[in-house]
Amino acid sequence: MLGSRLITRLMRFLRSVAGMPDYQRHIQHLRQHHPELSIPTERQFFEDFVRARYGDGPTRCC
């Protein structure tokens, strides 16, 4: 049990370091703060994220 929790945390760490979107966290945020908004599907969320991330401005250096 402890092992799987550790792996989940490690995965979350890796995801955030690489700047990958965290769907669970996003819907948690929506439920908490914007209950009036509809919850996007995972697919929709991911697409929006990619558009926002590479939409404008440099994200990488030399």
């Binding site: 370091v17 690489a18 401005g57 440099p58 994200t59 030399c62």
Partner: protein, 679 residues
């Protein structure tokens, strides 16, 4: 409390001793341990005391003030992120090929000048720049450098900053692409591995988009495994007489391939190629850098390069010019890098949970990058100097064979035999390493030395190609993201001339702007490939100058922020590095354009070529192209210098107006909101 003070004293003493050993050592070789110790000691002291001073006194970071991530939280780009995660994220975004290549090239002066500049440059300059811009952006809801320049100094400065960023982007992409071309030409192993990254990325893209939406980690794990498989398979391709010719390409072919790739990557939807590659290269980058640090600590290789070589007088083969100013523009990233100002005013400020986290992430993140630069310098300096110069000098200087190269290098006073040169090439699975300018190959040889000593004996060739793949992978990621970013900026600028061109999703506008950006860096890339001196010679200084001048622009903005917030008495924290940077970079720019020595000055080189045509020793058509390129490089350098001086003058005018109280000292910060976080 007492014990802590003693601890810091011991650390300071250890650092000072290490510096002393480095400076005074005379002999065959010195352990890299001294270099690491000197650097680490200085970083820790700088972080503990100087960044604390900046955070508390100069910026007045306030944990009671809510950050943009808290106030504007949307779970997507504004996300309060724990500080170590954000540290890793920010580091992955700022550390690229720059800190790896620059120090390797500057090793022609010996290991000492580069180390001093990297370590003290970062503590007093580079990390301050990143920190002040991150701070400024954090107080302005994550605004970009250009927007801050516009709001604090006026619309003209904003426009100039934007043009400067676009121009540096074009030069940056060209020179990084050239590094990859020089590493991959006539190398079927390398070409095969890098080509494989494209279908791997596309597979990952479909995985994340269509088959298993959002399973990004899963896709990345598959990508890394496939990448390593491609690396191993590359050896068989290179050794197969039927397959190898298909993957053996000249520099020019690879250059055109990269130009086509850059264009396609810029117009394709991001999920297909760009986003998966970005993840792949982030993981590879962090993993490899950790591995390199571990390897260096395990092996503590002896450094064979002298502390200072005779090339400080400006006669070096890797690039022309004396120690001052050229060491200070050759090493840009790692000591101070203007480009970071773009990242520090991009995604990172939107993710800070507490204001005080900006210290670890802005200042500390840059120290980390500087440490990468020190490791790269170690990897270059552990090579026999003769080998280092055989790899990094232009073919035109070395002559075509190992014999002629050994002869030339012996003339410089370094011993190397033709057998050594040939054996090394065979060891790493290449036909030749001679004249592979650009820094990546010699860094890869150094890394292969470290890795095979630390982790696996006899796998030199595999480690070499692993290092080449790692460098090429994230350079190509910079090329495709950079082209795309350049396209957006161009569209924004063009939109001010004709409205429809500014619509970033309008297809004709996308194709038009992408083609222009690709043509821009592609032109300089091809120029570099065709250059008889290998291109790095003229293009890397151009890149260094542009990057340092962008840093000067960022420091101008930083100074304005500090003065406007009523802290003029502390403005020296940005003014001192600014003064040094402008002195070194404008001198370098001036010399590159006007120096009488044709090896150094663009214009005198053009004149020398014209003379050769007049003598009949050079064909007129070929010379005309080279002369045009020299003049173009001169014009680009002058434009960079003029833009920077204009930004400086506009900023200085603001400073004087505020200091003489003709203008109120008022910053455009977002108003204070109390944080809801406890403690």
């Amino acid at each position: 409390m007492h014990w802590r003070k003693i601890g810091w004293l011991i650390l300071a003493a250890a650092g000072a001793i290490a510096w002393g050993v480095l400076a005074l050592h005379r002999g065959e070789s010195i352990s890299a341990a001294w270099l690491i110790l000197a650097a680490a000691g200085t970083y820790l002291i700088g972080y503990r005391f100087y960044s604390r001073f900046l955070a508390d006194r100069v910026f007045g970071l306030n944990d009671r003030r809510a950050t943009p991530a808290e106030r504007l939280a949307n779970g997507r780009d504004f996300v309060p992120t724990s500080r170590w995660v954000l540290f890793g994220h920010h580091f992955a975004a700022i550390a690229g090929a720059g800190p790896l290549v620059g120090p390797v090239l500057a090793a022609q002066f010996g290991y000492l000048p580069g180390t001093i500049w990297i370590v003290f440059g970062v503590v007093l300059g580079g990390a301050v720049q990143d920190f002040v811009i991150l701070f400024g952006s954090m107080r302005r809801d994550g605004k970009s450098l250009g927007q801050m320049a516009k709001e604090e100094t006026g619309p003209m400065t904003g426009l100039l900053a934007m043009i400067a960023v676009l121009a540096i982007m074009v030069i940056l992409l060209a020179v990084l692409a050239l590094v990859v071309v020089n590493a991959l030409k006539d190398s079927p192993w390398g070409v095969f591995t890098i080509l494989c990254t494209i279908p791997i990325a596309i597979l990952m893209g479909f995985w994340m988009k269509a088959w298993r939406p959002g399973r990004t980690l899963e896709a990345s794990a598959i990508g890394v495994v496939l990448l390593l498989a491609a690396l191993v398979a590359g050896r068989y391709v290179a050794e197969s007489p039927t397959l190898a010719p298909y993957f053996t390409a000249s520099g020019l072919t690879i250059a055109y391939g990269m130009i086509a790739y850059g264009f396609i990557a810029s117009v394709l939807p991001v999920w297909m190629l760009l986003c998966p590659r970005d993840y792949l290269s982030t993981f590879m980058k962090i993993g490899t850098i950790l591995l390199l640090a571990l390897g260096i600590l395990l092996v503590l290789p002896p450094l064979r390069m002298p502390a200072v070589t005779q090339f400080v007088d400006g006669t070096g083969p890797v690039f022309a010019g004396k120690l001052f100013p050229f060491a200070f523009i050759t090493i840009a990233c790692g000591a101070i890098s203007g480009f970071h100002a773009l990242v520090a005013s991009g995604t990172t400020p939107k993710m800070l949970t507490r204001e005080s986290d900006a210290r670890l992430i802005g200042y500390g993140g840059m120290l980390m990058e500087s440490f990468v630069a020190v490791m790269a310098l170690c990897a270059a300096a552990l090579l026999e100097p003769g080998i280092y110069f055989a790899i990094n000098s232009p073919l035109a200087t070395l002559g075509g064979s190992a014999q002629s190269a050994a002869e030339v290098i012996r003339g410089w006073g370094f011993t190397v035999t033709p057998e050594q040169i040939n054996r090394l090439a065979a060891d790493v699975g290449e036909k030749t390493l001679l004249g592979r300018t650009g820094g990546a190959p010699s860094l890869a040889v150094g890394m292969a030395h470290i890795f095979s000593n630390a982790f696996g004996t006899g796998l030199m060739a595999l480690w070499y190609h692993f290092a080449i793949m790692f460098e090429a992978l994230f350079i190509l990621t910079t090329v495709d993201t950079g082209t795309r970013v350049g396209r957006f900026m161009l569209q924004e600028l063009a939109g001010q001339v004709w409205r429809p061109l500014g619509r970033t999703s309008w297809y004709p506008s996308i194709v038009f702007a992408s083609a222009l950006i690709v043509a821009g860096w592609g032109y300089f890339l091809v120029q570099g490939v065709l250059d008889p001196l290998g291109g790095i010679n003229s293009l890397w200084p151009l890149f260094g100058i542009s990057n340092q001048l962008l840093a000067a622009v960022a420091l101008c903005v930083g100074t304005t922020l500090i003065i406007k917030s009523g802290k003029a008495r502390y403005a020296w924290v940005t003014l001192l590095p600014l003064a040094w940077l402008l002195t070194a970079t404008l001198t370098a720019g001036w010399q590159k354009v006007f120096a009488v020595d044709p090896r150094l000055g663009f214009l005198s080189h053009a004149a020398a070529l014209a003379q050769q045509v007049a003598d009949g020793s050079m064909e007129a058509g070929r010379a005309a192209r080279l002369i045009f390129n020299d003049r173009l490089d001169a014009v680009v350098t002058v434009v960079f210098m003029v833009v920077t001086v204009l930004v400086l003058l506009a900023s200085a005018r603001e400073w004087v107006l505020i200091l003489t109280r003709r203008k109120p000292a008022r910053v455009q910060e977002t108003p204070f909101v109390e944080t809801a976080y406890a403690g």
